[in-house]
Symmetry: D2
Subunit: 292 residues, 4 copies
């Protein structure tokens, strides 16, 4: 397939590498051009402007937040050919996805939402989980592309925003595990009688044995939070969850705790770390050293 | 090995069946005698009084709460032979375990703590995880017994209470997942655009893929909460966590949310269900029907 | 003084009546004209369009939310004479007030923020508390107007947004008392041994003796929540608090509890009641009848 | 009246001074004898043992916690004359009060519960609020004594424990105000545009104008937390609230937040300060200096 790809953060870069390795033809655009050029040696064509990514079978947008996606979407929509499907893979608000779906429909253009579940290293291996929503026939057409990026694609609804709601739910479950890991490991540490490595052996063999959770267990165990998914971006997702919860009048008290602890982490200067560093807030509150 | 076993709830019964299938000699006692007799056909000897379970290589106590364990322990300690190790497998407070360890030591008796992780059906298959703490040589002697009940034994410390702290941490992580599952599935349901079965397909393939979490995902998906581990017992564990947290001055806000929601579930008359029913509290709060 | 007044909800209407009774000349505008006409018999001039309210010493805007204030402010700013001070009395986001202050400054126009503390009946008596921020000389000029509406004016800063932050803090303290009243009265009711009226006698003589809190104690005691300040508006304020808290990276866990309970109240269909009805959420959660 | 008084902490000492000033005859006992002797010059008789305080019209017990009250009550009950009413003024668990009421009844002795609301300086002025529960005729007999200590006595039920439930509810409302004061003043401070003293002027004129709350507003404003009611004792009360809430299956999420923040305050070494220092936890979490 011929694929345009806009947005080359850590996740986007990994996804493009997986596409190229699977033999797809990919034209990439990124605001900071150097990130696009870094993919040229792997076979990507580098676009000078967003519109140069259009014209193929699909254009994937993979950007940081609602503002960025909204700006790009409104820039490319007037020039989007009827044959090119706009695949939104960003983790953005269901409300914006609903609006974009309407905008594309009004112009007779095709739009689906396929956010991805997984960390950057998993993206590079083409082993993400694709959460897809939109017109089934359109999603079927995209199969070769999706299969190159994801070990499995699950279609969760006809309205594109359905995929974003499910993606936010998954991120919420991960954030909850990180928070609970912070609280319990603070308790275990303060008890003074448990061998740290053995505690994590138990967790990694049982509750954290899912590949989704395993890295967070290891990061908290080792106290090392090199950025994969940075805290401010994770906070953005949690705010999207709470905003969607307000729209639907759903109380989510654990998510509120997570939000408050993320703010506390930011105020403590941890904003450059991976979101696993959320676990440090409970250590601090318990009066424990947060360096180890 | 010759093993005494006191306490034949769902977990205890499953553990004894696994021991018998592995060829161990087991003498069982239960206050309600019928539960003991139900194991006779599987090869267990039935004791009339707790002291008849003593005299072998080990006596396992597997009872509901601090009060029950304390009563039995003080009843059997004066008659416990030096050769018989007291193995406490109950999920009880670290403070009581510390006290019992001291009582046994003072009388020259051997005491270790080995709570088990897993649900009753896993117990019956001998596939639990054993979380062990205490004297390493004593735990080594118990290997044949532990291997009959658990797929793996992890020693987490020298002080017996260490095992109970780790067990409580694991139960906390499970309760947290149940709570977060309740909150997110209420949001997903109220959005009205996500296919319920597909949402759970995503979860079961990713965040809930660990065998520890899988059953809870299925129960919440199906809205069926036949008791495995009943809510009041789970609440007891959460109270133990918060009590231990108070002792060590550790704030655990997510655990506080869980406690409050468990109380709300009890007040709503859900106390006869499995602790997975904690997830219904968020559905109710969102104004959703809790029957389906 | 000659005063324009835009926005005649319950609070605005009360404030205008107080101004008229103090002998001020007031020209009023409201989108739904009937509310303006209702004030004509009390001496108000009725404007057909917002710009007819301009030209006096001040124009007060008293509207429901950020969107309404932003729309009106941008409509009147181009026609605002240099001599007319724009007095924003709405409870809106500090961020919007900061933006409006900048817009007025850029055009050489004068803008201050003076949100009011008190319920509609207190407004009508001219006994509100005025929380003011902005240029001190401008605020001094407005004295006769402020004294007609408020028993006391307290200037809290030079930046107009300062007044809105303080107003939000006050509303947060009131919401907190309502929530805590809900939790404690549920406990007292469920204990079954306390005489309800005597419990509230204790509260009204002590913790709730401040005029600010007294009405909420009476409403919860009587289970009567006729709308003074409706729940959805109160939720809007709480969202403003949390938005401002995010901006400044401040964790506010009690405010998060309040937000979640307000959403739960909305989902339970209590959105037409006064925000005191927040207290019913704890009653419901405790399994108590919420009708009495 | 002839009154025995056991327990001379800050509150007990203030109450005895008020009794003496009103012309009552008081015999005092305290484990640390020096505190009793300090009252001799004001006219108190000093007892060498608890039983020397018995024999008058009433004996008041005013001790720190359940354990202390239970020990003293069981020590004096066998020697308590029929004519001497046992007046329990301690803030203890409703469950213990229920038990003590039963014990006294079984022996034909009279027992009422009259916890006091107010700080030590108010106790000394005889201006407390007495929250009373028990047999009305007995309480009537005690009028001269209660009037000497309290500006007002409110009878809240026939079961003595009713008074303790109401006392705990009042302390919960005060703790909630302290916590909300901490959260809002952290927000106000971090905004950087509000004049601190003016913010507290607004609060003290409105939401904090009740004499019950005023001191906490002043302490938080001044950042001075000289012990009146120390944090560990306040935490004890909050634990009593949560224990009673568990007994009655009532969820109290704001109280859970307060408990967690009190634990955080203890872990941060603030345990020697007044419970107003709870407000410092939010300042710390916001990254603000907690010294000023």
């Amino acid at each position: 397939m011929h694929i345009g790809f806009i947005g080359l953060g850590q996740m986007g870069t990994g996804m493009v590498r997986a596409l190229l390795r699977a033999g797809q033809t990919v034209t990439v655009f990124n605001r900071t051009r150097s990130k696009a050029e870094a993919l040229a040696s792997a076979g990507a064509r580098v676009a000078n402007e967003p519109r140069e990514t259009l014209g193929g079978d699909a254009v994937v947008t993979m950007l940081a937040d609602d503002a960025a996606v909204s700006a790009i979407a409104h820039a490319i929509l007037p020039e989007l050919p009827a044959r090119t499907v706009h695949v939104s893979s960003s983790t953005i608000s269901p409300a914006l996805v609903r609006e974009l779906a309407g905008d594309h429909r009004a112009r007779g253009r095709r739009f689906v939402s396929v956010p991805m579940l997984g960390r950057p290293d998993v993206a590079e291996q083409g082993k993400l989980f694709a959460i897809a929503a939109g017109d089934r026939r359109v999603l079927d057409e995209l199969r070769p592309m999706l299969d190159a990026m994801a070990q499995r694609t699950i279609v969760v609804g006809d309205a594109p925003e359905a995929a974003n709601i499910v993606k936010l739910a998954c991120n919420t479950l991960i954030a909850t595990i990180i928070e609970a890991l912070g609280e319990t490991s603070a308790l275990v540490a303060k008890s003074g009688v448990v061998e740290r490595s053995q505690f994590f052996d138990v967790l990694l063999a049982t509750v954290l044995s899912a590949p989704t959770f395993r890295p967070y267990g290891e990061h908290v165990r080792d106290g090392s939070f090199a950025p994969g998914f940075r805290l401010p971006l994770a906070l953005k997702d949690i705010e999207l969850v709470l905003g969607t919860a307000r729209e639907h009048e759903v109380a989510m008290p654990v998510v509120s705790v997570i939000r408050d602890h993320m703010l506390e982490a930011m105020a403590a200067g941890l904003g450059e770390l991976d979101w696993g560093a959320l676990a440090l807030v409970s250590r601090r509150a318990a009066g424990l050293d947060t360096r180890s």
